[in-house]
């Protein structure tokens, strides 16, 4: 009976498993963002975009994928159509177009890791996060800090609402209007209670953590299967092949190559 229960619990846990491993997502994000940052070529930006779009689709975030693709291609076609916009314009307007082009360029470079951020923020459950972090050989105290930071985030929001209500009871409104009118008072009445409240919470939380064995010196075991699976290996292969194909086959600046060819056809 009890084994059945344990098994069901385990299966329930395992069924929440995200489509890709969290550690893989983080490492892919670091690597692609660094490559995109260093490389001046447009094809690399495209490859990074395709990789992150695939990751979004794997996590079944279709609507978000559509929005990001829309933004990306909007900036792309803006930069493509710049030469047309430039004809017969005044100097000031040309500078404006150029600055807008620079902005589009930033968006293209940054969008791929904003997409990864979106996936991790929306689709990774907190228990998975903790279990994955534990496997990353971090210092125990630092791990504790990071985990507490995640755990406290919703609580901090709730506490802020309590403080807001308490201040309203005393006739002090905390809003953007009052912040602009007297920022020092607004900070004193919102941030300071939050900070001093955190002292009590820290006492309680560290007591709870000690009881649950945070100071245990040996390796902790997790119920969650944090392991690279078939999908993860395929994803690694996929990332390498996308960047490799971009490097080998697109000699003339990625998509620009295709578009000029379409024009010629």
């Amino acid at each position: 009976m009890t084994t059945n229960k344990t098994l069901r619990y385990f299966q329930n846990y395992a069924s929440q498993k995200p489509a890709l491993d969290l550690r893989l997502l983080i490492i892919t994000n670091v690597v692609t963002s660094t490559i995109v940052l260093v490389s001046p070529q447009e094809k690399i930006v495209f490859a990074a975009f395709i990789v992150s779009l695939t990751a979004l689709l794997l996590f079944q975030m279709f609507w978000q994928a559509f929005v990001y693709a829309f933004i990306f291609f909007l900036t792309f076609f803006y930069i493509q159509s710049l030469p047309l916009l430039f004809e017969n314009q005044s100097h000031m307007l040309q500078i404006f177009f150029h600055l807008l082009g620079l902005l589009s360029f930033f968006i293209q470079k940054l969008i791929s890791f904003v997409m990864f951020a979106h996936i991790i923020f929306v689709k990774i459950p907190v228990n998975y996060l903790v279990a994955s972090l534990r496997r990353m050989y971090l210092h125990k105290g630092i791990l504790l800090s990071v985990v507490v930071a995640f755990r406290y985030l919703p609580t901090a929001k709730a506490e802020f609402t309590f403080i807001k209500n308490a201040m309203r009871l005393r006739g002090i409104e905390l809003g953007i209007k009052n912040f602009i009118k007297n920022p020092l008072h607004a900070i004193e009445f919102s941030l300071v209670p939050l900070l001093f409240r955190s002292l009590t919470v820290a006492d309680e939380m560290s007591a709870a953590a000690t009881v649950k064995g945070i100071e245990f010196a040996d390796k902790a075991v997790s119920l969650l299967p944090i392991r690279l699976q078939m999908a993860d290996y395929f994803f690694i292969l996929y990332v390498f092949s996308i960047f490799g194909l971009a490097e080998i086959y697109c000699e003339n600046e990625g998509m620009v190559f295709f578009i000029t060819h379409f024009k010629n056809l």
Binding site: I26, V30, S33, T34, L37, P40, I71, P83, H91, Q94, I95, H98, L99, G101, L102, L103, F105, F106, I107, K109, L110, F113, V114, A117, H118, I119, I120, F121, L133, L138, G141, I142, L144, S145, V146, V148, A149, F150, R151, Y152, L153, A156, K157, P183, L184, I187, L191, V192, L194, L195, S198, L199, A202, D203, M205, S206, A209, T210, I214, E253
Partner: protein
């Protein structure tokens, strides 16, 4: 310089304070999400001025142990890289600045107001530099992309160079200033409360 060991409670408090700091960042950053790094660089001085300074003063008042500033930066960066905002130049520059800030602040046991202000200013400068310097790099990339298509207009290029350089220097300076003034502001805000606590 006295080396003390961090206890479990210190790590928990550090986590909670990082959470509050990050919450403010996320709240301010949500307004400017699509332009993350650029907007981050722009909003950083303001966040540091009004919130970061007070939070840092509180933290180093409660945990005056060597390495607290670098630990704070490390946890903050780790938090953001787990969320997905892992941005290598920013991490490197911030950690370097945080080490420097720790040495400055620890030379008087984290009790000297002016040294703390300087340290936090440096940390903010590092955080900002990680965001701004790649932008200069991007501008270079952008120009080379144009030159490759045979569309070089030297006057325009000079203009862009000027704007991006000018804005970058202003952001760097403002974030340093924001950090320094933020600490003084934090001491002013928290003075009364620390006195009550004893």
């Amino acid at each position: 310089m006295k080396l003390e060991k961090f206890k479990t409670k210190d790590f928990v408090l550090l986590g909670i304070i990082t959470s509050i700091y990050s919450m403010i960042y996320i709240m301010v950053g949500a307004l400017t999400a699509p332009l993350s790094i650029l907007a981050h660089a722009l909003m950083l001085p303001l966040v540091a001025l009004f919130f970061g300074g007070t939070i840092t003063v509180f933290l180093i008042y409660k945990i005056p142990k060597f390495g607290i500033l670098s630990l704070f930066s490390l946890v903050f960066l780790l938090f953001f890289s787990v969320i997905g905002m892992s941005y290598l130049p920013m991490q490197v520059s911030t950690m370097l600045a945080a080490f420097l800030g720790d040495f400055i602040s620890a030379s008087s046991q984290y009790r000297n107001k002016h040294k703390n202000a300087l340290a936090y200013g440096i940390i903010n400068f590092g955080l900002s530099a990680g965001g701004v310097i790649p932008i200069w790099f991007f501008a270079q990339n952008y120009k080379s992309t144009w030159a490759k298509r045979g569309l070089s207009n030297s006057r325009l290029e000079e203009n862009i160079q000027f704007y991006s350089g000018y804005v970058g220097v202003v952001i760097l300076f403002l974030s340093f200033l924001g950090g320094v003034v933020g600490i003084y502001l934090g001491y002013k805000i928290l003075k009364k409360h620390f006195k009550n606590e004893g």
